[in-house]
Structures are given as structure tokens and as C-alpha cells.
Amino acid sequence: MKRINTVEELESRRDTLLQEQDSDTLTVTLCGGTGCRASGADPVMDALQQQLKEKGLQDRVSVQVTGCHGFCEQGPIMVIDPENTLYCQVTENDVPEIVEKTIENGEKVDRLLYRDPVSDEMIEKEADIPFYKAQDRVLLGDNRRLTPGNIDDYIANGGYAALGQVLNRMTPEEVIGEIKNADLRGRGGGGFPAARKWETCRDTPSAHKYVICNADEGDPGAYMDRSILEGNPHAVIEGMIIGAYAVGAQYGYIYVRKEYPLAVSHTEQAVKQAREAGVLGENILGSGFSFDVEIARGAGAFVCGESTALMASVEGKVGEPRPKDVHTVEAGLWNCPTTLNNVETWVNVPHIMNKGANWFASKGNESSKGTKIFALTGQVKNTGLVEVDMGTSLNDIIYKIGGGPHNGARIKAVQTGGPSGGCLPENKFDLPVDFDALTEAGSMVGSGGMVVLDENTCMVDVAKYFLNFLQEESCGKCVPCRVGIGRMLEILTDITEGNGKPEDLDVLEQLAWTISETSLCALGKTAPNPVVSTLMYFREEYEKHIRDHQCSAGVCRNLVEYRIDPDRCTGCGACLKACPHGAVEGEKKQVHTIKQDLCEKCGICKNVCKFDAISVQ
């Protein structure tokens, strides 16, 4: 690739690329995010290429594989432009029909169109689908348009224009001023104002400074950073270069989980291209400013989401946090001033520079500006990544975008913010989703996990699940977190096994207070949140477990028993075959029974029974 030496050359490169594009060309876009690939996007791609070749259409039709579109539940997703036709759950067997009908003759393949589960209406155009319509896809919209890691695509889409403008016309102080006016708050969890970090880092004298992108995304239930890095790595790099210019850093690291191989490879490719193009490395765009980035791969440790632990990990050490009496913006990586932001924060930076702080601040509400991406998952119809203006209500996200309950069961809560967040009940669903409102209600925005829970979920089990997670992930350095979480987990285990005592709830609250007041890092300080919030909103479920030894949701295994109703059982044998523990017995066409001593109460038998003959007691 030819090196771009000036901002003017960048702009003329963009003009040339745009002239080469023809908006009338038939374009088939396939989502190549991890979700769609898991659902079979690769064979669809191969079949499409082959069909087009066989029919001699490869020159007339442009095929693009992009990053994640967000509508993972319906994957593999295919969009055909300029008609904007969206096909969902496409398989390789559908491809010949798509080519013949839609590509050659402009007709729709009705069975592949999206059917709205709420209205049961068939929807032809991507833009008309309620899941997309109610969103404001500033960041995810780019994923849909770009071939990941292709710098020409990124430049044609307006990429690196913000960098050019910053290097040509703005002082570092002006850049920080713009971020401050936009009121950009960190998307990684705490919602700390980005400009304050940048400013302190800039003001701390040092020969070496660093910027870091946190793409570790250890929160179970969140994957927006993965999708952005997979789909649009150049935007992350551009954000980091602008940040580095503002704080005066010469070097940066993108800390990404090894479990995200596609994100790692697309980012590696993007870094290489950016260096070749002259937008990264020595003397960027001829401005005299030099900055380079390297990828550091995480190896699976939730605590590395904490800034001091992450920096220790980048240095190749055990990722343990340290006390923050000196902040990392003053003494971070190798004791040098370091600015750390997460993927979604960095990727907002080029947008703010291009469109201005006022544009950004016009989105959202008083407390939180801009958009936020949430990973909407759990017991809701439309799961996937959704991007909305800050301040959108939980109701709108869960019902308008998510389409409501997944299998008809009543939705009773939403878990936000991952293990550091909490569970909010249905009567809080009118809350605006912003950094402050959710924290006040006992949860948090966190990195954007949003798991919808229905009446088949036991809230005590959910709290136990998170404590179990946190106990495994506690680095063990400080006593409150190491011992305290363990003790809370013991109590919760007792409760879910029918051995709880009435005074346990008070002890849990005392422990929660102590752990959050005295732990060393944010992981420990926020660890009791899932218990505190469920105790606050679902106390009666705890009490029922303790007092009546009952789990209404039928989840806590020690409190339930599975039985086969002899009047309903037809002796079909499905449960016998499905039981992994050999606990079901019975002759074919005879009533079956469950051997209670072998039954592990997993409920697989109940799920496969077509006659509703198995009950939980």
C-alpha cells in the first residue's frame, strides 16, 4: 500500500475511493461476526461465491463480509442492497434460490424474510425491522458497512478524517477540550469522565507515556467490545492515535482476550495496514507526531479489567491490582503516565472529532451523553447487540427492541452491569438507562451486559452464580474479597440447599457492607452488588428458600424433585433416552419412573417430554 504523507493526500485518496464506488451495484453483505459464523455463515459465503461464479455473475455482484450487525439471534444474516432486503437464518441450501430469485430477478424469497414475532408481520427491508428501527446505531452502523481491517473501506467511509483534522488544526489541549465538552464518560464500567483522565495524564511530566485500549471484556454476558474490534478495528486505532496525541503518548497497547481470535487477527491486520499507510508509526501523515501500537493478549482473568491489574498483565506479570493512592494516569504502565479507556470509549473519539462535541452531547440525557451499546441476552425474543441513546428506558430496550419474553413466560427482572452490577425488577423498567440512574437503583451500566430474566429464573441462584464467578476470579490479594466472598457464597449455598437460617440475610448484608468498604480494588468493592440488589428487590424469594425450603422457579436442585405423572406418561421413552444419569426406568409403552437416588435434577427429562408428564415438586 502506498504511504499517505499528508492530510491532503488522505483526502484525495478518499475521493478516488469514493469515485470507484458505484451505489447502484448489487451488493450482498454477509455478517461475518462470531455469532453468525457460529450459526453457519462460512458455508453460506462459500456457496454464494460458487453460485455467482457458476452463473457468471461475479462481476455484476459485489460481495462483502462485514463485522457483527448485532442481530445475532437471527444469524446468519444476509442483506442485499440497494433494495435493503434482509434475509435471516440463511443456510448454504438457500443460496441457489437467493441467487436465482433475488439477484437475477429481483424477487424476494419470502420464507427467509424476517417475521416480526410481536406483529407476525413479514418485513422486507432491514431498515423497517423494529429491532433496528428503535436503535441509534452510530457505532454499530459502521460495522454493517465495512470489511473488517480493510483500510480502504474505512477511509472511503470517512475513516482517519478525524485524525487528519486533529493533526492539522488542533492543539492537544483543544482535543481534550472537545472531549470534555462532549462529556464522554468511560464505557468500560465506571463511567469516569474520559477528559479528566486525559488531562491529568497530559499534565504529568514524563519522558514516556502510554495509552491502552482495554478489550479484555471479562464480564460474562457482554460482547460489544469484541464485535467492534472484530468489525471495525481501524476506528479503535484512530481513537487511540487521537488520544495519544492529546496526552502526549508515544506508544500504546490493545489488551485483548485471546479467547477472541477473530478480534485479534482483524486488529493485527488493521495495525499492519495503518502502519503501511502512514497513519500509524513514525511521522503520522507528515505531522511530525509519532505513535505506534502493539497487541497484548490477555489470558483469561476477570480482575484484569481493573486498570492496575491490566497494566501488570501487559507487563507480562500476574494481573493483580495495587492500591490506587497514585493513579495510573500519573504512574501506570512501567510507572509512566498511562491513559486507559475501553474499546467503546475509544471508538467514540473519531465520531466526536468529526461531528463535534455538541452533536455528541445532543444525544443522551443530562447525566450521560452519546449512545451506549448493550448486549441484550437471556429470556428475550430478539437477542443481540443494541445501540441506543443514553437515557432510553429499560422498557423500550426489552420490549420495543427485544420483542418481549422469549417463550411466553413473564419477565421478572433484568441483570445489568455483569458481576459488578445488579438485578432490577419489572417495576423499575421505566428507569432511563444512564450511568447515574442505574447506580442509584442498585445496579450499574457497567460495560453493557443486559440479561433478561423470566419467572423460570431463581434470583437466589442468580446471586449465587455471580458470587461463584467472583470467588473463582478473585485474585486473592486482599482478605475482604478473598475470604468475604467465599463466606457469602457458603451462606447462599446453604440457602439454596435448604439449610438457610433466618439470620443469614442480616449476615449477608453485613458482609456485603464490609467487603464493599474494605476491598482493595473495584472487583471486590462491587462484588456484593448482585446479592445486595436481589436482597433489596427479591427478598421474598430468599425468605421462601429459608422458611419453606422452596424454590418457586424450580432451579435450586436440592429443593426440588422430578416426578412422572402416570396418567400422562405414554411410555415413549424420550426421557429415558435423554437422561444423562440413567435415572429413568420403564419398558416401552409402559409408564416410566424416576429413580430418585440417581436423579441429579438437571431437568433434561422435563424439557424433552412432549406430554407434559414430568413435574417439578
Binding site: 482476550r257 507480562g316 464467578f469
Partner: protein, 152 residues
């Protein structure tokens, strides 16, 4: 593992102390686990105390000091997968293979792992089989998958 490959990995990272985690990852990718002799060699060449390399290898979840099976079945235990029945998948594997998560079958064919989140939450519950993602998993589908791997 032939000794050359450890040397090659270290050379690729220019014997950089910073890259200890990446070096160990690459060795594990090649070998399936971290053999003792490889850890000793890494400590030597990076000039890091052996105990520090062991600390790092023990601290991060993705490292294993024991050989794994020919097929690795990774059950995601993320929140979204948990509420959609990930535990049942572990039940199924426990019943079929007679091992708990973290263990390897006696014939060395299968290792079952439970991990915190593989980041494909919308498809939950998810099982990753030898690096390939399988979404909307059910105990029934999983049984079929294991059977097809046993035959292969």
C-alpha cells in the same frame, strides 16, 4: 514437544520479558498444555525466576499444566448461557463421558472445560468444540456432537 519450537516462539517475541503471557499462549497452542521443560526454558531465556513463570501460568485461566484430550469441549458458563440452561449441558457431558469439568477422559479423547464467557451471548447456551462455536446448544444436540467426534 520438540525443543526447537520453544526456541522459535521465544525468538519470535525477541526474548521480551513483556511477552511472557503471549509466549506461554503460543507454546500451549502448539502443545495443548504447558510442559515443564518448556516452562523451564522460558524462565531461562527470559531471565525470569522459574516460580514467577509458574505464578503466571497458574494465575491465568486459559493456561493448563496438564495435557488435554484430543477434543476439547468448552461449555460457556456466562450469565446468558447460565440462565438458558448451560448446567444441563455439563450434566449431559458428565453422564456421557463420566468426567467433571476440568477433567480428561481416561482414553485421552475428551477434555471438558467450563469457562466464564466466550462472548457469543446471544446464541446461548454455547459450547465451543475444538475452537468451533456451536450456539443454541441442547443436551440432545450435544450428545450427537460427542457421538460424531467419537466416530471420527
Amino acid at each position: 514437544m520438540c525443543p526447537e519450537s520453544v526456541e522459535q516462539v521465544l525468538t519470535r517475541y525477541n526474548d521480551s520479558r513483556r511477552c511472557l503471557v503471549e509466549v506461554l499462549q503460543d507454546i500451549q497452542d502448539r502443545e495443548g498444555y504447558l510442559p515443564e521443560e518448556a516452562i523451564r526454558r522460558v524462565a531461562e531465556r527470559l531471565d525470569v525466576p522459574l516460580i514467577e513463570v509458574y505464578r503466571v501460568a497458574n494465575f491465568y485461566k486459559s493456561f493448563t499444566l496438564r495435557p488435554r484430550g484430543k477434543h476439547v469441549l468448552t461449555v460457556c458458563k456466562g450469565t446468558a448461557c447460565h440462565v438458558r440452561g448451560a448446567d444441563r449441558l455439563l450434566d449431559e457431558l458428565r453422564g456421557q463421558l463420566q468426567i467433571e469439568s476440568g477433567e480428561t477422559t481416561e482414553d485421552g479423547q475428551f477434555t471438558v472445560e467450563a469457562v466464564n464467557c466466550v462472548g457469543a451471548c446471544a446464541l446461548g447456551p454455547v459450547v465451543v468444540v475444538d475452537g468451533e462455536y456451536h450456539g443454541h446448544m441442547t443436551p440432545h444436540k450435544l450428545r450427537g456432537l460427542v457421538a460424531s467426534l467419537q466416530e471420527s
